[in-house]
């Protein structure tokens, strides 16, 4: 069983489109995150949710809207995609200082 799973693994789309990335964790963790890894491999937090409530929003454009229907899921919806949104997006979850990451979604905007 995959602990933190993201879908899709790859996503290629045109500028201006709207797309979603899904994340699910089966670890029973309370907190979930979205991280962005840019082309230089820098990793930066975007959002965190604790028990379905938004905790952190790191000055991400409001075209990005996370949604947490329950504490095991944290989805990321992106409106009006731009070229600069091309990156690898990682979902993660944590409990008591232990963090587990998904395998990433490589988003390419053309």
């Amino acid at each position: 069983d995959t602990a933190v799973s993201q879908t899709p693994k790859y996503l290629v789309t045109q500028m201006g489109n709207d797309k979603s990335i899904k994340c699910e964790q089966n670890l029973g963790h309370d907190t979930m995150y979205w991280y962005k890894q840019d082309s230089k491999k820098f990793l930066k937090i975007m959002f965190s949710y604790n028990n379905k409530e938004l905790i952190i929003n790191e000055t991400v454009p409001n075209r990005f809207s996370p949604k947490s229907p329950d504490k095991a899921h944290l989805n990321l919806h992106i409106n009006s995609l731009e070229l600069g949104d091309s990156a690898v997006y990682f979902c993660a979850s944590s409990l008591h200082g232990g963090y587990t990451f998904g395998s990433g979604t490589r988003l390419t905007v053309v």
Binding site: K40, K41, F42, I45, S48, I56, G97, Y99, G102
Partner: protein, 114 residues
């Protein structure tokens, strides 16, 4: 602001030699520190973490890291490098007292030559 720094973009080492990947931190209070590894086109895999206690932390795949408070460092080490250790290594902190988010360093690419 809390941060970690990885001063080397790349570290090259011959197989069988010891390796060190450097990390320094800037955290007020007692830091929680982590090392993660990323293989090509893969996710982040946890190697080890320091919370408190023994300054030498042992982790996965034979890696260890030494917490040094006076030098504010948390260098990753391995006594004998393998070609398969070649990957991107990230140091990270979630600050002191287990705050919510992980803050990553810029990453160090480790290249182990046969």
């Amino acid at each position: 602001a809390q941060s970690v720094a990885q001063p080397e973009d790349q570290v090259n080492v011959a197989e069988g030699n010891p390796l060190t990947v450097k990390c320094t931190y800037s955290v007020s209070g007692n830091p929680y520190l982590f090392w993660y590894v990323q293989y090509p086109n893969r996710g982040l895999q946890f190697l080890l973490k320091y919370i408190t206690g023994d300054n030498l932390v042992k982790g996965s795949y034979g890696f260890e890291a030494e917490f040094n408070k006076s030098q504010t460092s948390f260098h990753l080490k391995k006594p004998s490098a393998l070609v398969s250790d070649s990957a991107l290594y990230f140091c990270a902190t979630n600050g002191a007292y287990n705050t919510d988010k992980l803050i990553f360093g810029t990453g160090t690419r480790l290249q182990v030559f046969p």
